[in-house]
Subunit: 437 residues, 2 copies
Amino acid sequence: MTGIYFSGKDEKNVTSYQNMTQTERQEEYAKLQAVYESLKTQGLQLDMTRGKPCKEQLDLVSDIFDMLKEPEDYMVDGIDIRNYGHLSGLPEAKRLFANILNCKPKQVFVGGNASLQLMYGVLDNAFLHGRTHSPRPWCKEPVVKWLCPAPGYDRHFKMTQAFGFELITIPMTSTGPDMDAVEEAIKDPAVKGIWCVPKYSNPDGVVYSMETVVRMASMKPAAPDFTIMWDNAYCIHEFEGEDVEFPDILHQCKKYDNYDMVYEFASTSKITFPGDGVACMATSEGNLKDFEKWIGLQTISYDKVNQQRHVLYLQNRAHTLKLMKKHASVMAPKFQAVLATLEREIADLEIAHWSKPKGGYFVSLYAMEGTAKRTLALCKEAGVAMTAAGATYPYGIDPKDSNIRIAPSYPPVEEVVKAIDVFCVCLKMAALEKLGV
Amino acid sequence: MTGIYFSGKDEKNVTSYQNMTQTERQEEYAKLQAVYESLKTQGLQLDMTRGKPCKEQLDLVSDIFDMLKEPEDYMVDGIDIRNYGHLSGLPEAKRLFANILNCKPKQVFVGGNASLQLMYGVLDNAFLHGRTHSPRPWCKEPVVKWLCPAPGYDRHFKMTQAFGFELITIPMTSTGPDMDAVEEAIKDPAVKGIWCVPKYSNPDGVVYSMETVVRMASMKPAAPDFTIMWDNAYCIHEFEGEDVEFPDILHQCKKYDNYDMVYEFASTSKITFPGDGVACMATSEGNLKDFEKWIGLQTISYDKVNQQRHVLYLQNRAHTLKLMKKHASVMAPKFQAVLATLEREIADLEIAHWSKPKGGYFVSLYAMEGTAKRTLALCKEAGVAMTAAGATYPYGIDPKDSNIRIAPSYPPVEEVVKAIDVFCVCLKMAALEKLGV
């Protein structure tokens, strides 16, 4: 455990588990076991597996469906938004996302409901046909290696794994990926890219520092077609405090003569709806042209009616930030419940430390090494489902068996409280088992 | 020209261009040229390039957007349709499409707004990972060959071309692809699949005969992973007469022990909206499982709100057929205008023959060999845009330079009349040029 994140430890005089005698640990374990057994009898069914908005959040934006009413509403800038065409998105939708991401409309592609699909598209196109500066299609390379700052997002890692890429773990720090490690790794021309979640990273909640952003944008990788997958999923997703300004990665890359190196992604999955939002991608005009050729093989256009609903409903960045405040008011109590319980129950025991994020969808907890799996197995048995241990690492293997992603957004706050109580009991039991009881 | 389709020739005593003397042809050409020059001065801008519904058709279904109104409408069978999840589609959406396609709900995957994307997915998955019965991923095969009944759909051909497959032309007949040619071709284990548009084929409007369907379903290809891409795009798209019943290809394939051989595709692109419809795929349960694993890499779920709108609006096959009658009432006059003009202007000249379809979105015309490109160049100069000559053949090359796809659905009927008038003048001029003037 690096300890670089956030210590949960206060300077109080509670005996840490490490400092207990074996007898004390045995007594403590027996107490916990009794609590655990009674929890099991409650038949709990609590789900903190995924970072998804709750019903209350979805209800508060459902008036978006009233945005289009009259037949003339479907004619926008001379475009019948119900028909085929305008593959790269409605002009006004490009303007909206450019405003949110602080880039230019001509750099934006507006897609369907899933930014993951756009990410897959960039990789699939590179795999089949190569990128602009590729010596050959990636499927013709003997090996493609990919940098995975970890802990990170399981779906990112699985996607690159599915293409047969070799995943290389890059440690995360409190300012973003370890850039020394990145700069060393990119000397290998087989290293073709990196995953990044630059703001409120999944799961650690880290906001990349300006230094990290600049080092990233100014890299000189050996591979001429090195690709930064900049998944800005939580670009305006503060649940505490004001919006944190964040540099435009396209501008930074262009400044350092790396304009084609980066693809940025975002979506309204956690602004409007996970299933019925709008996703976008921002990249150089050359990359966009290349992407449109590829995506044009499989669709004539995305759902422009839904794009137009979002244009009318979200309006611009400032207006969208007001909406995010409403989401924050639903999210914050759940995160506060998790953090308060961890502080009260765990901080003094020296068995874990955890992130205290101000945005995003996760609390990232580092349990004592070798206890994450056991903790979650105990949780499951008591009816509390969490993201599988190891999921936040390449190939699903956390070498230290330590990181646990807590996703408190979906259940009602009273269930979050209940679930985190159960979790703390399990975390303690697993630690005691490890220390010896 | 095979003449197997539909002769445009009547037994009237008009001199065909072939029977004219050169002087007669020169006189005729001079007259046409005068007409053509006056047409050019009109500054026409008429578009018959693509098979897309017109505004009137979109208006008549736009009340679908009123289907969901109250917060409780978003809870369906215990599912919050706005949130993540249910990747393979809403249960009721599966039931709807199974009813329309005459297959079983458990065989149906409901996707986004583009069936092309599902087709691409099946091929991409096979390319990256191989299909269930594949000896290896298709990207590891030295060569993959693909059967393309032609004339056919340009986007199909381009998609298989993009994967680097070698396209093999299979002649179309009045009962579907030439099955003798297909059965011969599949003896080659490198031949991995075939494109089919079984009902109102694009562009010929052919409905495959029962014999063709049975021969297709009972094939014994050398490749264990041979794949029929059954694009049933016009499954209920009659614009003249009653719905023509059509066999369920999944049932047929299963009967002949080829259950995993076929993927069927359909969408509401021409039932509700091209840009905002819902696409589906039907295949064996094993294939579905395999596909879901792949699609799960790039999306957590499709737009279930739009699926639910369609469930409520279309209800079932019988109710959907009533809606198709309304579409037919808009479409039929346009097709009648095309066919009547061709009959009047061209039939006796022996310079072309054409299809007389009862459904689908196209009239397929076979001009005198070597005149299709010239005809369309003349049209373009006069302000009438048509699908590029050759587009209906693999690699965009019509070896006879004969086939022209006429797509009359989008422009208003008066523009269709005008456009087909211009087209007839151009067709005649090109023929006369070829015969010698």
